[in-house]
Amino acid sequence: MPTQLKELQSLLYRLITAPSGVAEGLAAERSLGAGGLDAIVRGDDRLSAEARVDIYANMYFYRILDALKEDFPATLAVLGDDNFHNLVTGYLIQHPPTEPSLYYCGRHLAEYLRAHPMRERAPFIADLAALERAIVEVFQSRDAAPMEPDALRSIAPADWPAMKLKLQPAAQILALDWRVSDLVRAVEEERAWEPLEPRAVKVLVWRHGTRVFHRELEVVEADTLDAIVRGESFAEICDRVAVRDSDPVSWINQMLARWLSDGLLARR
């Protein structure tokens, strides 16, 4: 590996990603020779060497900032431009991009927010970012053929107890402490959102065709979907529902119809 080239690239990386800018980054570089940056990057009467590196530093930050704004529109709406800008500055120090696609840049943002002072201003902000990230992930997750609405009719009665349902691989069930689904929808629809209150809730995020949907789950439905994901049989699921609902047969029939119509079930 070419040593000179590696040293040059490492230096430029440090300067471009220096949190307080190229000038402060340069001040921290002890190993630069007498000529400083000018001995490495050519400056001229129009732009100094430092100003030229600064162009790259700005492009680095703003390209990622723009990508994160696109992926987290509700988080941005709650925090406002300046706070979001500051959030991303800190986030990139802790989680600099490592993957070839910008798609991955926001994958740690919710986790980062869980320990961030901005939670004092908006205690639901980490949950909000988690839902927005799930929407992005579900949008481009693996495809699977949906179960046809009449597919269940072809199952012989004797086969029902052992039958196992399968969720679309793109579906995610999030366990959140705040009811943030409505806030995401409000921002999508460009309307004001209601104040949020803390309440443990499970949110289903799934894709039907190429559109992503999300909705809060009642406790029984959440438990049932979790059981499906774990691979429990239809008989086990019915037993589970029977102790939670007064009319389990009717409830399961309703749910099956809804899941099929929503495209949530995958072909077995």
């Binding site: 690239q9 430029l12 471009i16 490495i40 990057v41 390209r63 991009p97 993957e99 495809d143 894709r207």
Partner: protein
């Protein structure tokens, strides 16, 4: 590797999300599409469905932004295998990426950074292009980038650098006409000299795009129409290189599709108008028009 190893696709447009619906439903009259490879290196969903629909009706080329061919990090094998899978599935006319580095130390800057024009860099990059071509089992094209910094260690100019790498790696060149103009302004070199010096048989594709003027420098923002000065350079290239597939890139403040198609048409008209003056023999034939 020579240009005639590749099809002449004609005059195309970069496929962007804002136009997915229009391209799939209206099937606009345009010769071909270039797709950004990374946008489709995903497991499933809308992107893959769109690409299947587009590919059913048009030839495509795959254009990447993250190969980081000039980095001193090891080549990203996982990335290359994903790229190879995508190419196997969608059969592009060719695969291209940029003559640059995008990160180091396992980190990605998501930007196209220039290299010093040195013998050391030529050897390093050419060896890596050869590895990539072995993995992908095809020659690739490398694109000249717009740059805002140049290095004191450089011992040659940019066109000598890209020509030497293309020769040593035996790969093609994706010549971004706007990038030549932008870099020529930023580093005060003669853009005409650049075009006149390149090995004609290696130029397989052009990019045409707009830039923004910041007074002290030009930025390759792909958010404006192609400037007259860039059209003049394209005309010079068209006269010198003959039939080369051309592609309109527009990435920000994206206009209606018709405006992009009109730019592609203008590129065709300029090529046709200069047919008599070309110094290189055109390779365009009915067979080549996919």
């Amino acid at each position: 590797m020579k240009r005639s190893d590749f099809p002449m696709l004609g005059y195309g447009v970069g496929l962007r999300r804002q136009h997915y619906g229009h391209v799939l439903e209206a099937r606009p009259k345009v010769d071909w599409f270039e797709v950004v490879s990374e946008n489709f290196m995903v497991a499933g969903g809308r992107a893959i469905e769109v690409l299947e629909g587009v590919r059913a009706n048009y030839p495509i080329a795959m254009h990447g932004v993250s190969m980081s061919i000039g980095s001193t990090d090891p080549l990203n094998r996982e990335y290359l295998l994903q790229l190879s899978d995508l190419a196997r599935r969608f059969q592009p006319a060719w695969i291209s990426d940029h003559l640059c580095w995008t990160g180091v130390g396992g980190h990605n800057l998501h930007d196209l950074l220039p290299l010093p024009y040195t013998e050391e860099a030529i050897g390093h990059v050419a060896a890596r292009i050869r590895q990539v071509q072995e993995t992908l089992e095809r020659p690739i094209l490398i694109e000249n980038v717009s740059s805002y910094m140049a290095f004191a260690d450089s011992t040659m100019n940019e066109w000598e650098f890209i020509s030497a790498i293309a020769d040593e790696a035996d790969c093609g060149i994706l010549l971004d006409i706007n990038n030549i103009y932008v870099s020529a302004f930023n580093h005060r070199f003669d853009a005409n000299e650049y075009i006149d010096a390149l090995p004609a048989e290696r130029v397989v594709q052009y990019h045409l795009a707009g830039h923004s003027d910041h007074g002290t420098h030009l930025l390759d923002t792909h958010d404006h129409p192609v400037r007259d000065e860039v059209w003049a350079l394209y005309e010079r290239a068209a006269r010198r290189f003959g039939a080369v597939s051309a592609l309109v890139e527009w990435d920000d403040h994206i206009p209606e599709f018709a405006e992009l198609a009109a730019i592609a048409d203008r590129a065709r008209e300029i090529f046709d108008a200069n047919a008599a003056e070309r110094t290189a023999k055109p390779a365009l034939s009915a067979d080549h028009r996919a």
